[in-house]
Structures are given as structure tokens and as C-alpha cells.
């Protein structure tokens, strides 16, 4: 979008005012009064409120339980991966691991 387009835009909250910035979060246009700088970005009030809102602690009271289950599943999956890797390594004969199998094949 070009500069001319911005000059034609109006503030979402104040229809009589010219827009001076576009919120990078909601992509809407706002006047100078409706935007604020946060984290080196110019944001509108509602997006800023959403961004600064505390994490969804109240929304998920069982989130600690959920995280514990997720963590357990991941560690078990990881353990199974290395366990079966070990089991597969045990299946191969020692001559294969030591490389002597190739010497035998060469001689035969």
C-alpha cells in the first residue's frame, strides 16, 4: 500500500480524523491519539491491551497438569527412542560392530 492510501484513511475510533499509522497487529488505521509505542512498535490500544494481558492463567486452571502430562509423554517418547536404539544395537553381532565381519567376507 502506498503513502497516498494512508493519507486517505480515517481513524477507526475517530472518523473525522486522518489516520497517521497502521497497527501492525490488527492492520487497522488510527490517529495519533489512538496509538502508542510499545516494544519499538506503534500499536493500537486494544492490541496493546491484549499484548500486555497476563498469560491465560485463569483460563486454564489445569494447565500445570496438562504441562506435566505433555512433559511425561515427551520424556517417555525420548526414552523409548534411545531404548530401542540400544536394543537394535544389541541385535547386531559383535563382528559387525568391530568391523571384522568385512575381513571375514574378504577372506571367504
Amino acid at each position: 500500500m502506498s503513502r497516498i492510501d494512508l493519507s486517505r484513511q480515517r481513524c477507526l475510533n475517530h472518523a473525522q480524523r486522518e489516520a497517521v499509522a497502521r497497527c501492525p497487529e490488527c492492520k487497522r488505521y488510527f490517529c495519533r491519539e489512538c496509538v502508542a509505542e510499545h516494544d519499538d512498535r506503534v500499536l493500537c490500544a486494544s492490541c496493546l491491551r491484549k499484548l500486555l494481558a497476563p498469560e491465560e492463567k485463569e483460563k486454564y486452571p489445569l494447565r500445570f497438569l496438562l504441562r506435566a502430562i505433555q512433559l511425561t509423554c515427551s520424556v517417555v517418547a525420548l526414552w523409548l527412542f534411545f531404548y530401542y536404539l540400544g536394543e537394535i544395537l544389541l541385535l547386531f553381532p559383535t563382528s559387525f560392530h568391530e568391523g571384522t565381519i568385512w575381513e571375514k567376507l574378504e577372506k571367504s
Binding site: M1, S2, R3, D5, L6, A21, R22, P24, K27, V35, E37, D39, D40, R41, V42, E55, E56, R63, R67, Q70, L71, S74, V75, A77, L78, W79, F81, F82, Y83, L85, G86, E87, L89, L90, F92, T94, F96, H97, E98, G99, T100, W102, E103, E106
Partner: protein, 284 residues
């Protein structure tokens, strides 16, 4: 959408970043990876040689699993520090203060183990490999403890992995070829060290008596481990840069970083009050 950088340009930039990185950043990488690779080699040698390995395979596998999480956490710290070096001063300090150790461990421990299953699966299916590969590299950076929301980290990493697929696949191709060449170099060096010792000191070893001994699985694992330790920091940095440029599409951080490097007479019109306008221009 901005035009993405070329794959070779990105690799060159990553190498320049790595060359100028302070010792602390390197230590944060090798503190995790070196220990894991060393223990994985021990695990491999133990499982392939020991007559009593079947008795303690479960315990050993658990130890290696914990070290895998340890490595991934340190790789996340490394990726975050590399990312902070790219950000303009004030943002970098804010970003560094956001790292929360417990959150980082939690996110990395929850998400990274799945890479061991999904990457081989994606490789077999072939087509989605590039995206899955980028996704798990991105998790190292995005899951650096800024949030405990696993779903948000997963989504953001995936979103960044989807960016510029041609660049991503070119990167994978170039770095894979580089890895193969490095693998061969490391193998040749390790193979010829015993020959050199025999020539210089007259000491015989299994390798000098029979060159076929080099085909033992521990030798190949050592070569793979050394190659991984040498290539992975470059890969991580390349994906950190991809994330940085991907996020800059919205944040304009790359422009601010460039402005900060510019001389004062060029920088003055873009002081903090004007930055918003610069960014909103870029948004358009």
C-alpha cells in the same frame, strides 16, 4: 512481502556472525552438545561391545534422554544469544531479560523429542522434510522461555518455517553437501592419525594393521558426532537469521538494526519518535 535473501548470502552472514560471536556464545553451545555427543558415543560403544549391556539398556537410555534435553536447552540458549546479537541494543537487552530457564527447559523438553520421530518420518515421505527441519530449528529459538504456551511456540515456529520455501530448500541442499564433504574430511583425518603415529613413532594399532577396521560402527559414529558438532552451530545460526528476517517482515527489526549501524548524520532523522513511521511504512 520482502524479497528473501539468497541461500548463499544467508550462509555467508551466518558464518560472519559466528566468527564475531564471543566465547560465551560458543561455550553455551558446546556445554550442551559436546556432553551429549560424548555420552551418545559411550552409549553406542557400550551397547555394541559390552557383554552385559542388555542388563542396563533402560537406565542408559534414560541417561542419554536426559542429556538430549540438556543439549536442546543449551542450543536454545545459543540460538537466543545469536538472535540478541542481531537485534538493536535496547530490544536485545529486553529480549535477553525475557529468558526464563524453567520455561525454556519445559518447552524444549516437551517439543524437541518429537523431532527424533518426525524428522525421519518426513525424510521418508520426502516432501515435507524441509519445513519440518526448519520447524524444529526454529523451536530452539522461539521456545527460549519467552512463554510457556506450547501451542503458541509450535504455531510460531511452523509459521516461520513456511516462509521462503525455495530459500529453505536451497539452504538444506547446500548445507547437506557441505556436511558430506566435512564428514569425509573428518573420516580421512581420523583414519590417517594412526598411520601418522606409526610413521612418526612406530606405534602399531588396529587401524594400521587392518584398514578394514575403520568400518567398525564406533568409528563411523565418532565421525558423525564430530561432523554434527562442527556443522550444527552454522545450521542453528542460519535458522536464527531466517527467523530474524521472517519476524522483521512485521517488526522492522532488520531496518532498525541497519539504522543503528549507520553514521549519526544518517541516523538522526530516524530517532525514536520517527521509528513508528518507518515501521508503519514498512508494514505497507
Amino acid at each position: 512481502m520482502m524479497k528473501p535473501k539468497g541461500a548463499l548470502d544467508l550462509i555467508e552472514e551466518a558464518i560472519a556472525e559466528l566468527r564475531t560471536a564471543p566465547a560465551g556464545v560458543w561455550i553455551s553451545y558446546y556445554a550442551g552438545s559436546f556432553l551429549f555427543v560424548l555420552c551418545l558415543l559411550y552409549f553406542w560403544a557400550d551397547m555394541s561391545r559390552s557383554a552385559f549391556a542388555h542388563r542396563h539398556v533402560a537406565e542408559s537410555a534414560f541417561g542419554v534422554s536426559l542429556l538430549y534435553i540438556w543439549m536442546k536447552c543449551w542450543q536454545s540458549v545459543f540460538a537466543s544469544r545469536m538472535y540478541d546479537r542481531l537485534l538493536p541494543g535496547r530490544q536485545a537487552r529486553r529480549s535477553a531479560s525475557r529468558i526464563n530457564v524453567l520455561r525454556l527447559i519445559l518447552i524444549q523438553a516437551i517439543l524437541q523429542p518429537y523431532s527424533l520421530f518426525l524428522l525421519p518420518l518426513a525424510f521418508i515421505v520426502f516432501l515435507p522434510f524441509g519445513w519440518v527441519y526448519a520447524h524444529f530449528h526454529n523451536i530452539s529459538l522461539i521456545g527460549n522461555g519467552g512463554t510457556t504456551d506450547v501451542r503458541a511456540v509450535w504455531r510460531k515456529s511452523w509459521k516461520l518455517a513456511l516462509l521462503w520455501p525455495a530459500q529453505n530448500h536451497r539452504l538444506i541442499l547446500i548445507l547437506s553437501l557441505f556436511s558430506i564433504v566435512l564428514f569425509l574430511n573428518v573420516a580421512v583425518v581420523i583414519f590417517f592419525i594412526p598411520q601418522l603415529i606409526r610413521t612418526l613413532f612406530g606405534i602399531e594399532s588396529a587401524f594400521t594393521m587392518s584398514p578394514l577396521q575403520a568400518l567398525n560402527t564406533t568409528f563411523l559414529t565418532v565421525v558423525c558426532g564430530v561432523t554434527y558438532l562442527l556443522v550444527n552451530p552454522l545450521l542453528k545460526t542460519v535458522y536464527v537469521l531466517r527467523c530474524f528476517y521472517g519476524e522483521s517482515v512485521h517488526s522492522g527489526a532488520d531496518l532498525i538494526a541497519e539504522l543503528n549501524l549507520a553514521p549519526p548524520e544518517v541516523r538522526s532523522p530516524a530517532d525514536s519518535s520517527k521509528r513508528g513511521e518507518v515501521r508503519s511504512e514498512m508494514e505497507r
